[in-house]
C-alpha cells in the first residue's frame, strides 16, 4: 500500500488510493443509475391497483430489510465456485474467470449486482412516494385529451416525480459512497478496495490513525461534492422540495 506515513498522509499518486477512489466512484455511479432505472420500474408497478398488491409490495420491499451480512452471504454462496450456480453460468457466457470472488473485476460486478438487488427497493419506495403525491386529476384530463399511456408518463409523471427522484438519488449516492460491509462479506477489502475499506485497512493492519483519518475526510469531501451537484439540480427542477 502506498499511503504515506507523514503529511499529507494521502498522495494522489499512490496507486492504491487511486484504485480505491476509482472503485468507489464507479460503484456509486453505476449502482445509482441501475437502481434508479429498476426502482422506477418497481415503483410504477406498485403504483397500480391490482389483486394481491399488498404481497407484491412486501416481496419487493423485503430485500431492503435484509441485514447486509446476509445479503453478502447470499451472493458469496451464489458465486462460490463449488456450490453456487452463478460462477458456472457467468463462465458459460464468457464473462467470469475461474474464481470470481478472487478477481477484482468479477468481484466488482458481483458487489454491484448484490447492491442493486438490495437497495433498488429503497429507491422504489422513495419514487413511489413521489408518484403518489401526483394529482390524479391530471391523468384524467390527459386521458380525455387522448394522450397515450406513454405520453401521460412522459409529460405528467416524469416532470412531477423529478424532485422526489433527485432526493432519492442523493440519498443513495451518499450511501453508495460509504460501501464497506457488502465488500467485506463477499470478496474482501483487498480484492475490491473502496474508500471506507482503505480506512479500515490503514487502521487494522498498520495502526495509521492519521492516514485513516485523511482517507475518511477525503470520502466526506467527495460526498459533499455530490451533494452540491444534486442540490443545484434540485434547485433547477421546477417542483422544488419544500
Amino acid at each position: 500500500m502506498s499511503l504515506t506515513d507523514s503529511l499529507p498522509f494521502v498522495e494522489f499518486g499512490a496507486p492504491f488510493l487511486q484504485q480505491a477512489l476509482f472503485v468507489t466512484l464507479a460503484f456509486a455511479i453505476l449502482s445509482v443509475v441501475f437502481e434508479t432505472l429498476i426502482g422506477f420500474g418497481q415503483a410504477l408497478v406498485l403504483d397500480q391497483d391490482f389483486y394481491g398488491r399488498r404481497w407484491v409490495r412486501v416481496s419487493i420491499i423485503i430485500p431492503w430489510a435484509i441485514p447486509i451480512v446476509i445479503q453478502g452471504m447470499i451472493f458469496f454462496l451464489i458465486f462460490n465456485p463449488t456450490i453456487g450456480f452463478g460462477t458456472e453460468f457467468m463462465q458459460s457466457i464468457g464473462v467470469f474467470g475461474e474464481t470470481p470472488l478472487a478477481s477484482s473485476d468479477d468481484s466488482f460486478l458481483i458487489v454491484l449486482v448484490a447492491d442493486i438487488w438490495k437497495t433498488t427497493a429503497f429507491m422504489a419506495l422513495l419514487i413511489l412516494a413521489g408518484l403518489q403525491s401526483i394529482d390524479r386529476g391530471l391523468y384524467d384530463v390527459a386521458k380525455v385529451s387522448g394522450a397515450s399511456p406513454w405520453q401521460r408518463f412522459k409529460y405528467i409523471t416524469l416532470p412531477l416525480v423529478a424532485p422526489a427522484l433527485l432526493v432519492a438519488m442523493l440519498f443513495r449516492t451518499m450511501d453508495a459512497m460509504r460501501i464497506y460491509g457488502l465488500i467485506d462479506a463477499t470478496a474482501g477489502c483487498e480484492t475490491v478496495p473502496s474508500l471506507t475499506c482503505l480506512v479500515i485497512i490503514a487502521l487494522q493492519e498498520s495502526r495509521r490513525w492519521a492516514t485513516a483519518s485523511a482517507v475518511a475526510f477525503l470520502t466526506a469531501v467527495v460526498i459533499s461534492g455530490f451533494v452540491v451537484v444534486y442540490l443545484l439540480a434540485l434547485r433547477n427542477s421546477d417542483g422544488g422540495v419544500a
Binding site: 418497481q42 410504477l44 408497478v45 403504483d47 397500480q48 391497483d49 391490482f50 398488491r53 399488498r54 407484491v56 412486501v58 416481496s59 419487493i60 420491499i61 430489510a65 435484509i66 441485514p67 447486509i68 451480512v69 446476509i70 452471504m73 447470499i74 454462496l77 451464489i78 463449488t82 456450490i83 450456480f85 427497493a121 429503497f122 422513495l126 413511489l128 412516494a129 413521489g130 403518489q132 403525491s133 391523468y139 399511456p149 432526493v167 432519492a168 440519498f171 460509504r178 464497506y180 460491509g181 457488502l182 467485506d184 462479506a185 474508500l195 471506507t196 479500515i200 487502521l203 485513516a212 483519518s213 482517507v215 475518511a216 475526510f217 470520502t219 460526498i223 451533494v227 422540495v241 419544500a242
Partner: protein, 338 residues
C-alpha cells in the same frame, strides 16, 4: 398524503376493465371481420396489441411484476435450498432443488455455535437503540415541530449534516475513545473500556439513525392541533407531560414508523457491528459475527451459513410483513418532506 393508496381510483389501464371502451369494441370487431388473413400465433398476438395498445401495456405490467418478484425472492429460495442440502452433497446442489434433505442444519447452527446468543445480542442492541432513539427523537421532534424559535432552521440543517459524514469518519475517534480505559467506568464494566460491550455498538448507531427519526417525528408532532396541547397545559401538566400524555399517543403511527425503521437499520448495520467487538458471543458480538464465524479455520460450513442467514432474517422479515405500510409511509414522510 395517505399511507395506503388502495382506496384510490385505478390508474392508467384500470379504466378499460370497468366500462366497455367503444374503441376496444370497434377494434375487436375489426379483428373478427378479416378472417381471410391467415396469421400465426405471434402475428395474431402482435396484431391484437397494435389494434388495442392497452393490452400491450397490461401485458408489460404483468411481465414486469413477474420479473421483479422472481429477482427479489429467488435468492431467498436458493438460500433455503443450500441450507437443506447435507454438507457432503453441497457440490451437487442444484439451482432449484436441494441435493438431499437435511433440516437438521437448522438445529446444528445452535449447537455448533451459540448462534442464539448472537441473535439475542443483536436483538437487544437494536431494541435498546430503538427506545433511546424514540425518546431523544421525541424531545427533538417536539422542539423542531411545535416550537418557533430563532435558529430553528439552522439547527435542523445541522442535524441533517451529521448524516452526510461517512461512518468511517466517526469510527476513528470512537475507536480510540472506546479503547481507552476510563476509571469512572470500572464499577460498571470490568475492563473499564467500552470495547466489547453493547454500548460500543449501541451509542454510535443510535446517534447515526437519530436524524431520520427526528424528521419523521417532527412531521407527525407538528400536525397535532395546538388546542389539544393547550388544554393539557391548562389542566396543569408540564410540557413534558403534554408531550408524552397527549402528543405521543396521538402520533402513534408516526412513533411506530420511526421505531420500525430504527430497529431494522440497527439490526442490519454492518460497519460498527463488525468493528466494535472481538467477535465472541459473550463479548456482545452481534448476529453478523455469528454468520461469518461458520467460515471456520478448517472448513467452511456453507449449509450452516445459509441456515443461520435464514434464521437471522426472520425477525426483520416478520417486521416487514407486519409493518409494511408504516415503512412505506415513514420513508415517504422522512425523505420527501425534508
Amino acid at each position: 398524503m395517505s399511507a395506503d393508496p388502495a382506496d384510490r381510483e385505478p390508474v392508467a389501464d384500470g379504466g378499460a376493465a370497468d366500462e366497455p371502451d367503444p374503441t376496444v369494441e370497434m377494434a375487436e370487431q375489426a379483428g373478427r371481420e378479416e378472417p381471410d388473413l391467415d396469421r400465426g400465433i405471434v402475428e395474431a398476438w402482435a396484431a391484437k396489441m397494435i389494434s388495442n395498445p392497452d393490452r400491450a401495456y397490461r401485458a408489460t405490467f404483468y411481465v414486469a411484476t413477474f420479473f421483479f418478484l422472481v429477482t427479489t425472492l429467488f435468492p431467498f429460495y436458493w438460500l433455503l435450498v443450500v441450507a437443506l442440502t447435507p454438507r457432503n452433497n453441497l457440490s451437487e446442489v442444484g439451482v432449484f432443488l436441494p441435493a438431499g434433505f437435511n433440516p437438521a442444519a437448522f438445529i446444528d447452527i445452535f449447537t455448533t455455535l451459540p448462534f442464539h446468543r448472537y441473535v439475542f445480542n443483536s436483538f437487544l442492541i437494536a431494541t435498546v437503540a430503538t427506545v433511546a432513539v424514540l425518546l431523544v427523537g421525541s424531545l427533538a421532534g417536539y422542539v423542531f415541530g411545535r416550537l418557533r424559535f430563532r435558529g430553528r432552521n439552522a439547527m435542523l440543517l445541522l442535524v441533517l449534516v451529521t448524516s452526510f459524514f461517512p461512518p468511517a469518519a466517526f469510527f476513528i475517534p470512537l475507536n480510540r475513545l472506546f479503547n481507552t480505559n476510563v476509571d469512572v467506568l470500572r464499577p460498571l464494566l470490568s475492563a473499564g473500556s467500552l470495547y466489547n460491550t453493547p454500548y460500543a455498538i449501541f451509542i454510535p448507531l443510535s446517534a447515526i439513525f437519530l436524524p431520520l427519526s427526528i424528521f419523521i417525528l417532527m412531521t407527525f408532532y407538528s400536525q397535532i392541533p395546538d388546542g389539544l396541547e393547550d388544554a393539557a397545559r391548562v389542566e396543569g401538566t408540564t410540557r413534558l407531560g403534554a408531550l408524552f400524555r397527549v402528543i405521543v399517543p396521538l402520533s402513534a403511527p408516526g412513533v411506530a414508523t420511526a421505531g420500525v425503521l430504527t430497529f431494522i437499520s440497527v439490526y442490519n448495520e454492518y460497519f460498527f457491528s463488525s468493528l466494535m467487538t472481538d467477535g465472541r458471543p459473550q463479548n456482545w458480538a452481534p448476529m453478523l459475527e455469528g454468520i461469518l464465524r461458520f467460515q471456520g479455520e478448517f472448513e467452511v460450513l456453507y449449509n450452516l451459513m445459509a441456515a443461520a442467514s435464514i434464521v437471522a432474517v426472520l425477525p426483520v422479515a416478520i417486521l416487514v410483513v407486519v409493518a409494511q405500510e408504516k415503512i412505506v409511509s415513514g420513508l415517504t414522510t422522512g425523505a420527501v418532506k425534508e
